[in-house]
Subunit: 547 residues, 2 copies
């Protein structure tokens, strides 16, 4: 059978654009004499529409769009992802379905069985799981149609605390009893830097276990926090990937399942993947919001320099504007490094003073603050004055403020709410500071874009004289190692101490993480590149006493 | 049998305090010669601990605490809510359980069957559902132990789009086959202003259907957004409530199931319930965070006046500080109304000017803004300057800034991010403006606390000359009616227009709601009093094109 793999970038709720893309791919597949074209999970709506799925008019529009697409399926069949109404008497009102379209109409529907409800996933909220297993017969072959998690019944446990088998049913085991010829999987599998390997392992394992080839179609593109890397593929019954589609962009391939073309994508190192992911994340956040211009504060430090370089790659130098806002505590190099960055990137920049406003704030607050020692309140006034300035530029020119917080700061609450925590999108808040260095060096791999001095100087918030991050935090190698164990690996402070870290430091850091949930609650959406990002994939109570 | 109903206020993850309260109630029940004392759902951990449930040390501590509590159960039995480890080979690692303690140890465990995953509920994320039905035999009686949602298998559909039966199993139907003598339900049922009636209907319906009495124990207190109203009760087999515990506070009653005492709580009108709920919500947010002082901006308008009055009731006049920050566009009454409010409430207030900072911001930005017409950017500078001032006071004195946004504003995005959207807790952001009026009049029911002029004058943000809310919005009666249909009832714009509202207005308002998800994403946590509050009970994608 000739099957087309259509790896597309969908926009949530944008039925017009999504269906146009899908129909274009159907035409292309027809021209290529394909028998079947496969799209990804919830392709009609984009992944994940969340509570829009509770709106009747949304679901009606999705269904109408699928029927319009079906009209184009003459001389070819298509598998399109979309919600479908649960016609049973009980349960959630929808299924997460694969619609099988042929001869101009809907020919069959198969529903997702395993609904992930962990980390960023929340599918039980909207969908009723499938509990009936049937193949689809087409042109003499029997297709086992599955949706994303359906092939992940046996996945590596997220923490050692979790069970190996998260689900009590194995859809592939059930479908295999019916003697299928091929497994087809419609996916929406978000990127994290170790996801590609996990995914390839699962695919190979399943192909080998059931001695069946697998057609795997993932989407690409980003929807707010979630970035989809694509990497759709065909795996033969021996578990070998013979055809692999591109990463981080749309792609289309027609394969003959008996003689699939050999296409391998070049291996990319982890930091290179993160680089591509973030650029796609920025680009889609802007373009899907119909906005084109970014503004950000440039401190001369490495975080803002990195975000600026990424933004220029994503949006173009003409569309990025830097604002330099030195204070009395800023060192000379704060300006010179930022100016050099702006020149290296060829972007427009402005220098604005904050001291006149900071002084006026101080004057107004003097009667209230008289006799009290200056401290965090005064430091925050500086950060917030900068926040007001960049937001004014953002409002005036319709540009989005990019937030430059990194994951280490975000974890320990080292940032000012309504100050440097401002922004429409937090670009690197899922990168630990040590990874910020790695990515900055990667960006400089051919020539110096980020000034070397921004990379080598000691990190500082510059909110008081001679302040250094290490005044209140351990060095970043130690901090990030502790944070990774605490956040990504969910280890207890006790375990981390047993692994060789100082008790005092571990206790302090874990408390800082817990105590700052209230700040993260109001943080900008964060581009997700790890297996555990702050945001809706990590839900922690604010008013809790956990230590 | 003599059963004690222990209705307590728990603090998430505060095992020490929670277990102390539980043990105290066990002692009290023993003194009252009760056979059994019943606590609420997840009483040991507090509801809802969310991803703390993914931390092994958290679950271990919960289990250890339950065993410590069990040691006190001599001569009495107790039903305590807490997580338990799923000892099966597959599935989520935990159950949401009722622990039956007697003779100094754990005697039985029963798990929750129906795990809600809608609105604010997310229990499938952490728990494996029960699928085995057994009674607990104790002192010659057979107890059907259920947890919260277990008795809600047939609930009024949230929207007409939803099915009547959300679940395919009915735990009560299953348990009833085993001939129980009584139903016991451990609950954590959050308040919304129509919840009490729904709850009493469900309880009566089940008691009558199965001809069984029900002991229903809910918790009280607030955990960030969620407010629990208590109202634990005993319902006889005819579906009549004979014993009803207090609302919005801890309570304890021992009943003889054959001859339960007749205690009825006075009927409270809806606005009175909302009033109590918000005060409890404020108080617990502060006290459970170990903080005592609040600060807020007083504009002279009704929203900040209402929040201020509520804060004084919750925290005491000494613990509330008002900051008046008039601008050149403020009317004279802005100051005089705010001063009168502060005097009525006997709180401390300060008047701070914003113009000097606003002027300095304008000066610094002049080279960038030259030749451009003043607009939203300049209006926002005023709101953000106020935001910096109140946050400085908050930081300096360790007080929490109360946010004064109402639900109508929050819905249409009529507020400035990092300006008047600032705050640690949004007190009235689940109250439509029309309800803000109702609650203000209620607060004034005995004497004028909120100045009458704040209630009667036309609402205005006062960010430009002679600005009125109605410049850009329909009158609040119309706006709120449309918003209620769109948000609470999930009606489509088409349906709302068919109900008699102007097409142009409905289209404009629904677009404003959809377009402002990005602002609400960064909003403060909102005290929930309705069936559909903004926040984690309403999950909408940011980068979507839905209209």
């Amino acid at each position: 059978m000739k099957i087309a793999l259509a790896q597309l970038n969908y926009h949530i709720a944008n039925f017009e654009d999504n269906s146009k893309k899908i129909i274009d791919s159907i035409q292309k597949a027809k021209k290529g004499k394909a028998d079947l074209v496969v799209f990804s999970e919830l392709s009609v709506t984009g992944y994940y529409p969340n509570d829009l799925l509770e709106r009747e008019e949304f679901v009606e529009k999705a269904e109408k769009t699928i029927h319009e697409i079906a009209a184009h399926c003459t001389g070819i069949a298509a598998l399109v992802g979309g919600p479908s109404i649960n016609d049973g008497q009980k349960g959630k009102q929808l299924h997460n379905s694969a619609w099988f379209l042929k001869e101009g109409k809907v020919s069959a529907i198969r529903h997702k069985t395993l609904l992930p409800t962990y980390d960023i996933f929340d599918e039980y909220r909207h969908f009723e799981p499938n509990n009936e297993f049937k193949l689809i017969e087409y042109k003499g072959e029997k297709l086992a149609v599955t949706i994303c998690e359906d092939i992940w019944d046996e996945q590596p446990a997220a923490t050692k605390f979790a069970k190996e088998k998260l689900y009590s049913v194995s859809p592939l085991e059930e479908l295999n009893k019916l003697n299928p010829d091929i497994i087809i999987n419609l996916s929406a599998s978000p990127f994290s830097y170790n996801q590609e390997n996990k995914r390839k392992d699962i695919l190979a394992k399943n192909a080998k276990r059931y001695h069946l080839p697998i057609v795997y179609v993932n989407q690409t593109g980003a929807n707010t926090e979630l970035i989809f890397d694509g990497g759709s593929c065909f795996i033969n019954a021996k578990g070998e990937i013979s055809t692999e589609l591109s990463y981080f962009k749309e792609d289309f391939q027609i394969i003959n399942t008996k003689m699939p073309p050999v296409i391998k994508q070049p291996k990319t190192e982890v930091i290179g993947k993160i680089h591509k992911a973030l650029i796609l994340g920025i680009r889609d956040y802007f373009f899907k919001s119909n906005l084109h211009d970014a503004v950000l504060g440039l401190s001369g430090g490495i975080d803002s320099a990195l975000v600026c370089a990424l933004a220029v790659e994503a949006l173009g130098a003409k569309h990025v504007r830097g604002i330099l806002m030195p204070s009395v505590y800023s060192s000379d190099h704060s300006i010179s490094d930022a100016v050099q960055l702006a020149n290296n990137l060829n972007i427009k920049y402005d220098i604005l003073k904050i001291q006149p406003m900071v002084d006026e704030f101080g004057k107004q607050l003097h009667p209230l603050f008289r006799g009290l020692v200056p401290g965090v309140a005064e430091e925050n006034i500086q950060a917030r004055t900068r926040g007001v300035l960049v937001m004014a530029v953002s409002n005036k020119f319709g540009s989005i403020l990019l937030n430059t917080t990194n994951k280490s700061e975000c974890a320990v609450g080292y940032g000012t709410l309504y100050g440097d925590m401002n922004g429409g999108l937090a670009v690197i808040a899922d990168l630990y500071k040590t990874d910020v260095y790695k990515l900055s060096n990667y960006i400089n791999r051919e020539k110096e874009i980020i000034p070397q001095n921004s990379i080598t100087k000691a990190p500082s918030a510059e909110l008081r004289p001679d302040q250094k991050d290490t005044d209140s935090l351990p060095d970043y190698d130690t901090l990030d190692a502790i944070l990774f164990k605490y956040i990504e690996q969910n280890q207890s402070p006790k375990e981390i101490i047993e692994a060789g870290f100082e008790e005092k430091t571990v206790t302090k850091i874990s408390r800082m993480v817990n105590r700052n949930e209230y700040k993260r609650f109001q943080a900008a959406p964060i581009l997700r590149i790890s297996s555990k990002a702050f945001g809706f994939g990590r839900k922690m109570p604010i008013v809790a006493r956990f230590s």
